[in-house]
Structures are given as structure tokens and as C-alpha cells.
């Protein structure tokens, strides 16, 4: 995470996400997939092929791509289909766009009710016998049962969670890095899934996205760094307010 300053001098914290060896693996048409739209399987970071059996390598062999650590699905419309085997780059996103990032949260192990659910616990003194971080009562007398989903101690973290509506501030095309506003679920160097935001406020934010994706061997020559309009670039002199 890094700080980033706007032209008016305000500071925002930014997470760096690297797009590492992403390839489209397979196209699943709408009828075969159980959902409402066609799906594209996309694979992430390259990993050694020797730790899994040959049967698991079929998808990667079809696409002509080394074995990937993570395979995710994206719901895609019919006009945005991409041929399996095409690499995906960070320039697929543009600064000023809004994005949802999904990742597996940091695992905290078996945790008590105070840390896991934010219960207040009991006072430290004034006669409490061996009761300082316990849940207290778990149901009422009339219910005569404990409801399903009652908040209790258990394994915390290591589940998929999404941060919605994160602004993309900057894109580095040389190293394939996306600068995304705020924090993102997961530990450092973990794999995350970045999608266009599904929030209704950001439906029409992306004016001219590279459609269906950014092709590196195309005619478009992008500069090394793409900045949002509001970012203070370090090539400018210091900010003077009027």
C-alpha cells in the first residue's frame, strides 16, 4: 500500500495489484453454463506443472498455456468474448474506473466471540468469576432452542470477501500494475480477482473501455504510466492553493 496525493493536496491510500501471467483458458457458452450469460474461464499466476496429475492439465493444454495457480470465472456478454489463450494485461482497466476486488481474507484461526463478532464481553473486575470474554446468554427462555446462525466462536478469516466500488487511480503498463483506492481483502502477495464494479452508482463511469480487452500486439501504443485526472504527478511543481 502506498500514499497518493490529489492536485488539491489530499492524501489517499492506494493498494498495488500486479497482473501476473493472466490468460483466458476457456469459453463456456450460455446453454452449457447454468447461469444467465456466457462464462470465460481465466487463469492467474504461472506455477509448476509437476505438483498436479496430468488430468488436471487438460484445460491448460487446450489453451496452450502453462499451469496456473488460480482459475476463476467471469460472466460475459456475447459480444465481449475472447479467444482462449489470449493474455490479459493491466491496461484492460483505465484510471477513473471503479472496480470490485475479491480475495480470501487473512486466516485468524479459531477465534473467540469478542474478536470474531465484536461482542463486548464482561467487566474485568467487580466479582466476575472466570467470565471476561464469553458470549453470555445464547437464546431466550421462550424460544427453547438456539437459532441457526447464532454468532459463536469458530474459525475466522480465510474466506472470500469483496470490496466494492474501489477507484482505479493509476495503471503502470510496463510492469502491469493497477493502483486501486483503499484496502483489499487478503495478505500481501495473495491472489485476488478484479472485476468491473456492479454497484448502480458506477454503472456508466467507464467512458471508453478497451473492448473486449487490451491487446498488446494491437496498434495502440500506451505510455508507461496512465494517471487519473485528479492525481498529483511528481513531474509537476509543488501545489499552491488559491
Amino acid at each position: 500500500m502506498m500514499p497518493i496525493w490529489t492536485k488539491s493536496g489530499e492524501k489517499h491510500a492506494v493498494t498495488l495489484l500486479k497482473v501476473q501471467d493472466c490468460h483466458v483458458l476457456r469459453y463456456v457458452p450460455k446453454e452449457e453454463s447454468g447461469g444467465k450469460s456466457a462464462k470465460l474461464l481465466v487463469g492467474g499466476k504461472n506455477v509448476s506443472p509437476f505438483s498436479k496429475p496430468e488430468s488436471a492439465h487438460e484445460i491448460f493444454k487446450e489453451a496452450g498455456v502453462p499451469r496456473k495457480q488460480k482459475v476463476t470465472t467471469f460472466n460475459v456478454t456475447e459480444d465481449a468474448l475472447i479467444k482462449p489463450g489470449t493474455p490479459l494485461y493491466a491496461a484492460h482497466f483505465r484510471p477513473g474506473q471503479f472496480v470490485d476486488v475479491t480475495g480470501k481474507t487473512i486466516g485468524k484461526g479459531f477465534q473467540g466471540v469478542v474478536k470474531r463478532w465484536g461482542f463486548k464481553g464482561q467487566p474485568a473486575s467487580h466479582g466476575q468469576t472466570k467470565t471476561h470474554r464469553r458470549p453470555g446468554a445464547i437464546s431466550t427462555n421462550k424460544a427453547a432452542k438456539v437459532y441457526r446462525g447464532k454468532k459463536m466462536p469458530g474459525k475466522m478469516g480465510n474466506i472470500y470477501r469483496t470490496s466494492f466500488g474501489l477507484k482505479v487511480w493509476r495503471i503502470n503498463t510496463k510492469h502491469d500494475i493497477i493502483y486501486v483506492n483503499g484496502s483489499v481483502p487478503g495478505h500481501t502477495n495473495c491472489l485476488v480477482k478484479v472485476r468491473d464494479s456492479k454497484l448502480p452508482t458506477y454503472k456508466d463511469c467507464n467512458k471508453n473501455p478497451p473492448f473486449p480487452t487490451f491487446f498488446a500486439d494491437g496498434d495502440e501504443e500506451l505510455p508507461e504510466d496512465l494517471f487519473d485526472e485528479e492525481i498529483f504527478q511528481f513531474t509537476d511543481p509543488s501545489v499552491t492553493l488559491t
Binding site: M2, P3, G9, H175, T240
Partner: protein, 246 residues
């Protein structure tokens, strides 16, 4: 010796002694700002490389002078609430923290009997100028104890003129021992954990001895805490000098 013509051999003067002045060679001081050195961790070095590129870019446009803890600096920032939209603050640098673009330094001064500390970010675009008024290192790297010292040690004239610097080589170390207000202090500065050499402790002997109870003499031998930055520093210095010359 057998002579060539029967005459005595030509006088060979003894070789002149070559004096290698090791002292001046070692004092070739190369300063590397502490926020360039990456901390120990599992982050990808690519992140630090990219951050360094941004820092170098900022340094090309705006001059960040070399300074240590104990220097007296004057910082002009852009302030939306001031009349001239800019604000000048003079103070002694108490501490330098943070790594990368978020590096900060805290300036302390006492203005009209009110102690003020302001934490500035080195790479913030709001900072318009940083001037070093007085160059002087102190015995410690963290002068937070000035909060509990007598206010005369933290007062600096706001209209102070920059002290002219004699040599371009040495930065003088001020071995000032600061006198403190009566206890209680904000932190127990006599404890060995803080390792402060710049305070004149007027405490009774038994209190100083009792403070030594919290000493952890094994810490300096702990090998897992060792972080040798010499090679990393060399690489970063090379990179910096190359980039700044461009």
C-alpha cells in the same frame, strides 16, 4: 658491487615514502536518506523499486535537503486556511519515520509558551520549501524526550537566520545533556530500552539502578534481529546517483 667502469656505483636515492591518508578517504560521507532503505518483509522488491522511481521523480523537481534528527528546519506548506495560503513553521527535527513515499518527520518548537509538534510528510505536494537553518546532530536518533525537558531546550526563534556552514564534510555532533522537568514524564526515559544519552539525569542512584532491572542485554546478540543493509544501500545509492544525474 661490481662497477661498470671501475668508478663507484651511481648513488640511488632511497624511494620516497608514499603516505596514504586513510582518514580523509574514509570520511567520504555519502548520505542515503533513511526512507529509501526497504524494511525487512515478504513484499515484492518490485513495489519498492516503483516507489523509489516516484521518490526520485519528486526529488528532481523539489529539493529535499540532507538532514538528520536534531537539525533545525523551516518548512513552508500550502495551507488553505491561512491568509497568504502558505504557512511557515520552524522547529527542531525530533524524529524521522516511515519508509518509501510515506516518510515523515516531526518538527518541534515552543511558541508563546505552548509546545507544538507538527508531523510533515517528506513527499507531500503541499510542502513548498524545506530549509535547513542549523546543522547539528545530537547524541540520540529520537528526541521525543524534549517534551519532558525544560522548554528552553525546544524554543527556537521563528525568524532565525540560517547558520552558515563551514565545511562541506562534517556535521557537528552537539553533546548537549538536556535537563528535565520533575517526574512524572510521558515515558520512563531512564530505562535502558530507550538508550538515551542526551539527558542529564538528576535522579537518585537507587532509581537509576532500579531502571536497569528492565535491561535486556541479550538483545544485541540476537541474530534474528540483525538486518545488514550495506549491500542494499550500495545498490540504492548507485541507482539514486544514476537517476539524479540524468
Amino acid at each position: 658491487r661490481v662497477s661498470s667502469d671501475g668508478k663507484p656505483p651511481k648513488f640511488q636515492p632511497p624511494p620516497k615514502p608514499v603516505i596514504i591518508d586513510r582518514k580523509t578517504q574514509k570520511e567520504e560521507r555519502r548520505f542515503l536518506s533513511p526512507e529509501f532503505i526497504p524494511p525487512r518483509g515478504r513484499t515484492d522488491p518490485l513495489k519498492y523499486y516503483i516507489e523509489r522511481k516516484d521518490m526520485i521523480q519528486r526529488r528532481k523537481v523539489f529539493n529535499i535537503p540532507e538532514f538528520y534528527v536534531g537539525h533545525v528546519l523551516a518548512v513552508t506548506t500550502a495551507d488553505p486556511h491561512a491568509r497568504d495560503k502558505s504557512n511557515r513553521f520552524v522547529g527542531i527535527c525530533i524524529q524521522r519515520g516511515g519508509k518509501g513515499l510515506g516518510a515523515t518527520f516531526v518538527l518541534r518548537n515552543v511558541i508563546e509558551d505552548q509546545g507544538i509538534e507538527i508531523c510533515y510528510e517528506l513527499y507531500s505536494p503541499r510542502i513548498q520549501a524545506i530549509e535547513v537553518l542549523k546543522l547539528e546532530k545530537r547524541l540520540d536518533e529520537n528526541l521525543m524526550y524534549l517534551r519532558d525537558a525544560l522548554p528552553e531546550y525546544s524554543t527556537f526563534d521563528v525568524n532565525m537566520r540560517p547558520v552558515p556552514r563551514m565545511d562541506h564534510e562534517e556535521i557537528p555532533v552537539n553533546k548537549l545533556q538536556v535537563r528535565m522537568k520533575p517526574k512524572p514524564w510521558s515515558k520512563r526515559w531512564e530505562r535502558p530500552k530507550y538508550n538515551i544519552k542526551g539527558i542529564k539525569f538528576d535522579l537518585p542512584e537507587h532509581q537509576m539502578k532500579a531502571a536497569q532491572k528492565w535491561s535486556q542485554p541479550w538483545l544485541e546478540f540476537d541474530m534474528l534481529r540483525e538486518y545488514d543493509t550495506s549491500k542494499i544501500e550500495e545498490k540504492i545509492r548507485k541507482e539514486l546517483s544514476e537517476e539524479l544525474e540524468k
